[in-house]
């Protein structure tokens, strides 16, 4: 098996290496990839969409159809994780596991109260124990709002600086995951419920497709944001810029919710009970 694998790897690697002779040189300005469609994007983006960040403009405007389905792929991955892992079995016996946050000991409770017990219940067990992750928890608590603010900035400022829906959405999702890691999954679940993640993930794709369909309804092509100009009361160029922004918000929502959804299901094996 190993010998066969080595033979395949050496063969494929040799073929690829021999093919590099015909490839353009590193950073050659006249390479075929840089000669056809990309000069047009670079020279016309500012004129047509008034977005300085060409990557954002190409992503959400010129190749908007592609990006819409990339968002749909991300959404599908989230749904697939949910369907594969989520367990909704009627609980075998009324026991549930809780983590005693200070010591990291996992406690199994046999008689579960109807209401979620507050995290303070465990505090009383040993009150003078200094939690070993006190600093981590409190630094994260202070940091998370700023991380989320920065994520919103990355989404909204994607027209003028590196950023956009995908990057901002991942940062936003990471802030929720950081909360789940530094506190525990249940605390994160209180802030962002499971239905909320599912709905937001679907909502992101819906916003993207909805903006496209709105352009269709106003007489343009699908995802042709210039058709939105009568609705937004701006000229067609600015309408394209604004259309990109709406779409990026949709992408950000979908990506954020999907990241959180995947993390929650993976970390707790689909129980959403007690994570890592």
């Amino acid at each position: 098996m190993k010998a066969l694998a080595l033979a395949i790897v050496v063969l494929v690697g040799g073929l690829l290496v021999s093919a590099t002779v015909d490839f353009p040189d590193w950073a050659d300005p006249n390479s075929p990839a840089s000669r056809h469609v990309s000069p047009r994007y670079i020279e016309k983006t500012m004129e047509e969409t008034s977005v300085p960040n060409i990557v954002t403009a190409v992503l959400a405007d010129y190749r908007g159809y592609d990006t819409m389905f990339e968002t749909a792929v991300v959404f599908t991955a989230g749904v697939a994780c949910f369907l594969l892992l989520r367990r909704r079995e009627p609980r075998p016996g009324p026991s549930r596991v809780y983590r005693h946050r200070a010591t990291g000991v996992i406690v199994e409770m046999n008689r579960v109260p109807d209401k979620e017990p507050s995290p303070d219940v465990f505090k009383r067990i040993d009150d003078d124990w200094t939690p070993h992750d006190l600093i981590v928890m409190n630094v994260c608590r202070l940091l998370i709002p700023f991380i989320q603010l920065f994520a919103l900035y990355v989404i909204a400022h994607g027209h003028h600086s590196p950023g956009g829906g995908f990057q901002g959405g991942v940062i936003l999702g990471a802030s929720v995951i950081l909360m789940a890691l530094s506190w525990d999954l249940r605390t994160a679940m209180l802030r962002m419920k499971e239905t909320a993640t599912g709905l937001m993930s679907a909502m992101g794709v819906f916003i993207y497709a909805g903006v496209g369909a709105l352009a269709l309804a106003l007489g343009g092509n699908f995802l042709d944001y210039a058709a939105l100009s009568p609705l937004l009361r701006v000229d067609p160029v600015a309408a394209r810029s604004l259309g990109i922004f709406f779409v990026e918000v949709g992408v950000g929502l979908a990506v954020m919710a999907t990241m959180v959804l995947i993390y929650k299901n993976l970390a707790s094996e689909g129980r959403l009970d007690q994570g890592l």
Binding site: T20, S34, E43, I54, R63, A80, V237, N265
Partner: protein, 133 residues
């Protein structure tokens, strides 16, 4: 030998991506543990991303964000395509990165599912269990 040195110097980005890609391919074929296979798949994806991004590079080109661009609707007077690197590979890879994270999530979900059923992640042990049943 002499003629290979410029070849090596002007095309080293391809060598890097091929090396990474072969590491990933090796891991996907030869490794027995399923998580290691997934790591191999991720290295493979990273190699592709490096390949695409390196194609977009241009000597003397800056990042594809127009500096001091003319205001809204004033037209593009002096935007030279040579001054900015190719934005297209960056766009493609931007989405590819997020999709690779999503596929990684699904792959790990499948691995958890397999582990739940077979209590192991070694491929040969799983195959043996399947043969027995």
């Amino acid at each position: 030998m002499e003629e290979y040195i410029p070849l090596l110097l002007t095309k080293y980005n391809y060598w890097v991506y091929i090396t990474l890609m072969m590491i990933g391919l090796w891991a996907m074929i030869a490794k027995n543990n399923l998580v290691k296979k997934i790591v191999g798949m991720n290295i493979f994806q990273t190699a592709i991303i490096l390949f695409y991004v390196s194609i977009g590079a241009k000597y003397g080109g800056t990042i594809p964000i127009i500096q001091h661009g003319p205001g809204h609707g004033h037209g593009a007077a002096q935007i030279k395509a040579l001054a900015y690197i190719n934005p297209l590979p960056h766009v493609l890879m931007l989405t590819a990165i997020v999709v690779s994270v999503a596929t990684l999530g699904v792959a790990l979900a499948l691995v958890i599912k397999i582990h739940r059923r077979h209590r192991t992640l070694e491929e040969d042990e799983i195959l043996e269990q399947l043969r027995e049943s």
